[in-house]
Symmetry: C2
Subunit: 347 residues, 2 copies
């Protein structure tokens, strides 16, 4: 029996402007077979099982956690993207309790939770065998810590579905800016290849070492492999068939709702004119489409209404920082968000 | 009592072209004192205790060991410098025995031995808390391996003096080429600062975690901190006062003998016209000075005659590779080298 270890080169053939056939290279080692699958066009777009589960979940909580939470400073995203964290050994939580995280999320009514397994420092909050810049490098727990494992275990314990956020667009440690390894010539190309393979390796680790995942969230999208970006979609599809994929330029199973305000527009259609979440010719058109969707859109792509908990009273921050309690949204604002997100067909 | 934790900004004042005073900033935390030391010019240069020990040792063995020893391919230095090793988990020796290394060196008559703790891949063969790309990242020995520790222990066991080679000029993992982090703008500068600090941290680890060292060898030199390179000399001086420093643009306690042939010129003076090992206006002049020294040189800087064991019969290779036995120098060639190196006042 031929058990493929990867799927490559998905390609859609068009006839008269309609998708007719999907071709795929099914591979194992050096063996390769081409498979052609007819595409039956549906009259109306409908959610798949992953999208349905996500929409029915209504409320999820994203936990932002990275090295700089420990630097005792106000977080500055722009600088964080281009300045490696001085000393990664600052990562040394004394009373970390992911049960407390997840219990709080459950008490708030969340059905799923997501953890930033990597954010923009590039540091991986788990045990990786492909990325040395991970918890293995820490003195903390003698290099044996695994926050992704703790987080997933806590989710299972409290009955929330675990999802993982992977930031691969920015990486101050490896010198990656907007997907591109900084540098010149052949050296840059070699390091880009290495980086892409490392990212693909991390995606496989996340998809295979922690059981079933509800959602995988590539922040800022994961670009398109044809643009020289890591080829992550086939890995997620192969190892996590029930995991919602958000998102790259090949596929977005949900779309960003056009703001970080916790709200979407009204009305807010779950349909969208493009198979990935960029559409519209101008920035203004794009934002309107993200917020409202398109009733005639051929693709099911419901809207996500995200907001940082620390977005009140003159701050908009995804990470904890010292003395930021005054910026936590009061309950009435959160309720308002709920009405203008879940109440409007978003999650 | 004030116990400084570092010495910075060494500066020599000249009068009538002669060094008169050395100033140093003696620091602890934010405290800083300036110290001025009169320089008594000797009539003739003489070896210091480190140089004397090194010259009396006569014979040392340098062990080259890095990730690519495990890739089963012929080693190509140029490519290795600009292409990160695909999968660092290939590092997985089954029968590594540093006792056997050191016993063989002792049997050959060596009095000291040196290990490439880092070479051009950037991978560190020890337990580092400042460089994640080290043995902590490996599956090998569950991330607890430390070849530097094994090597030093074997040296102590057999009575050889241990030295450490640190390659910091090239680093394909971090994207460093000829000391410079590849890239542009502020991002590059930030990563350069991070890299320099990381290197200084590794030097401190090497100098403080493994007992007394005989020699520290920065291959290709360690450049000058004023050129934006890591500032390594004060660290070695502070933590390893008896360790021979080879070399950067501030100091070379020995000099390269001008070839990798295991021989030096005849005659070969231990004196040299410059305090670091570059002198002469043309490449030809420079090579002659390295091979022969200068009887009128003001600085004691004996010559090192290095050669790869695999330099016979059409190959010149510092690392083991598959099927390279035919390139190992026969005994008579090694004896010839001995006569033309130790016999000519080199080590």
């Amino acid at each position: 029996m031929f058990k493929p270890d990867r799927l490559e080169r998905p390609f859609v053939f068009y006839e008269d402007g309609r998708a007719k056939v999907l071709s795929l290279a099914v591979k194992k080692g050096d063996e390769s077979y081409s498979v052609f699958l007819p595409i039956k066009e549906k009259k109306y777009p409908a959610p798949n099982k992953r999208q349905l589960a996500w929409q029915e979940a209504e409320l999820g909580v994203v936990f932002h956690y990275d090295l700089h939470v420990f630097d005792n400073k106000k977080y500055g995203q722009g600088n964080n993207r281009i300045d490696p964290v001085d000393d990664y050994q600052i990562f040394n939580p004394k009373r970390l309790n992911t049960d407390q995280w997840i219990k709080a999320a459950k008490d708030a009514g969340a059905k799923f939770a997501i953890l930033t397994a990597t954010h923009e420092t590039g540091f991986a909050l788990f045990q990786s065998d492909v990325n040395p810049y991970c918890m293995k490098a820490l003195k903390y727990k003698d290099g044996k810590g695994d926050i992704v494992r703790d987080f997933v275990n806590s989710c299972r314990k409290y009955g929330l579905k675990p999802g993982i956020y992977l930031g691969i667009r920015w990486n101050s440690f490896y010198g990656v800016h907007d997907f591109k390894v900084n540098g010149e010539g052949e050296f840059r190309e070699n390091r880009q290849k290495w980086y892409n393979k490392m990212v693909e390796g991390m995606v496989k680790e996340i998809c295979t070492n922690y059981g079933e995942l509800f959602e995988i969230w590539f922040d800022g999208g994961a670009d398109h492999p044809d643009n020289g970006a890591p080829d992550v979609l086939p890995i997620v599809r192969q190892y996590q068939p029930n995991c919602l994929f958000y998102h790259n330029k090949q596929l977005a199973e949900v779309r960003w709702g056009g703001s970080e305000s916790g709200t979407v527009g009204y009305p807010c259609w779950a349909t969208f004119p493009n198979f990935y979440s960029h559409a519209g010719d101008t920035q203004k058109e794009r934002m309107i489409l993200l917020k409202h969707g398109d009733p005639n859109g051929k693709y099911w792509m419901p809207a996500m209404a995200d907001a940082p908990l620390r977005g009140f009273n003159g701050r908009h921050e995804w990470f904890w920082e010292p003395d930021d309690e005054e910026h936590i949204f009061p309950l009435e604002n959160l309720m308002e968000m709920y009405y203008k997100s879940v109440g409007r067909n978003a999650t």
